[in-house]
């Protein structure tokens, strides 16, 4: 009898159906929320990657096709003699198989009375790279000319820019984290022992964008020791967000075999 009575309670069955329906709708709503939260992330990342890839490629083209004043004034309109940057670099390399006046590639003279004429090409290369990247202060970068066939003397030029931060202890929920404002930038010239040393410091840096092109240099082998006086270098330009930056102490630590020297620094404040 009770069973028959229960069977006659029609409203309960309808409520149950409605609750099942509501449950299905909630599951669908959660799935839609999830889709909307993640929709387009990959495409957005791909678009950002494409922009920075194009930017690094443009920087390399700008470096190679720019003309430079053949002095340390950085003002092409007031100079008597100019040349294409890459021509000046190759001319510099031709005579002594190195770029710059010093034997050490991490050394370069500063503008002024003590400026060495042998550093003209290297000096202008450094400043063109710095100038093209100045509109992106939130990005750090490195540029190098690398000889993959010569393990003992691989790098012909290497510069790296690191953003420095005012680190302070966070407050509230961020109390145990270091937060910081951009303080300035430091520019280093390096002479790494090998390509692996570069790879080891870049290993933990995320969001890296890079472009690379081959260059052919000719040198004057007055001793005629080699069978060929042609060398194929690879020029690479790499950028990454400054908040992913490398600590400057990593560059100067002898254990990292980067052999970096601070060339100049800037203070934003």
């Amino acid at each position: 009898m009770e069973l028959i009575k229960l069977k006659k309670n029609k409203a309960q069955a309808a409520i149950t159906d409605a609750l099942f329906f509501l449950t299905i709708i909630m599951v669908l709503a959660i799935m839609l929320f999830k889709v909307s939260a993640t929709y387009g992330q990959r495409v957005k990342t791909a678009s950002t990657n494409l922009y920075f890839k194009e930017y690094t490629s443009s920087v390399l083209k700008t470096i190679f096709f720019s003309e430079i004043p053949l002095n340390d004034k950085l003002d092409i309109s007031s100079t008597e003699e100019t040349d294409y940057l890459m021509t000046a670099i190759k001319s510099d390399y031709f005579s002594d198989q190195k770029i710059g006046a010093s034997e050490d590639i991490n050394t370069m003279s500063q503008a002024g009375e003590n400026f060495k004429d042998g550093d003209i090409a290297k000096y202008n290369l450094y400043h063109i790279i710095k100038a093209t990247m100045n509109p992106l202060p939130n990005y750090d970068y490195l540029f190098y000319l690398f000889d993959p066939e010569n393990p003992s003397n691989s790098f012909k030029f290497f510069m790296i820019k690191i953003t420095t931060f005012n680190l302070r202890e966070g407050t509230g929920k961020e109390k145990y984290t270091l937060t910081g404002d951009q303080n300035g930038a430091e520019y280093y010239l390096c002479n790494p022992y090998s390509y692996d040393n570069i790879r080891s410091i870049m290993y933990n840096v995320s969001d890296i964008y890079s472009s690379s092109i081959p260059l052919r240099f000719i040198f004057d082998d007055i001793h005629q020791n080699s069978t060929s006086n042609v060398i194929d270098l690879r020029s690479t330009f790499t950028i990454w967000p400054a908040n992913n930056s490398i600590n400057a102490s990593v560059l100067t630590d002898p254990n990292n075999r980067l052999n970096c020297k601070l060339y100049e620094s800037e203070n934003y404040t």
Binding site: I24, Y39, V43
Partner: protein
Amino acid sequence: MKSQKGFISSIGDDFPSLIPIFLGLLIFFSVFLSTYNIYKTNTTAFSLQQQAISVATIMKTEPVISDYNSFTNICNKVNTNKKWVAFLTDLDMNVSKQKSLPLDKDMLKDKNIIKYSDEIIYNCPNDNWDDLELKNNTKKIIYMFPIDLDRNNFAVPVKLFVIVWE
């Protein structure tokens, strides 16, 4: 029938179950509309980014822009269904002398601020400048690339700006 417990009427019996059904439909359509809006916004943004990259790639075809005619010829090769403008500004090798053109919201509201700015070397296309009145809610993409320009017979670095909007 009326004397049976639980029976109100043929519609009244089902009335309590209508509440979760309506609630479910309301939730579903709200979430659906929200997802659709996000989809539409992102799709528009991706389309703009793609067109901006496409325009910039064409503008950067020549590694050195020789003169205004060359710049205009390159501009005429751009084929896009979005509204766009491109212009060149100085990029001094001495970073302490570099000026920045702040393309902020106030500046973009008045096309004449950009078009007649002293810092612009070349700009194109002329027709689209009249449409450049970007309000706060206008979807736009602004890309900047370094490029070389032949100025006074010297190839010097300059900044190429590409703005695409709809």
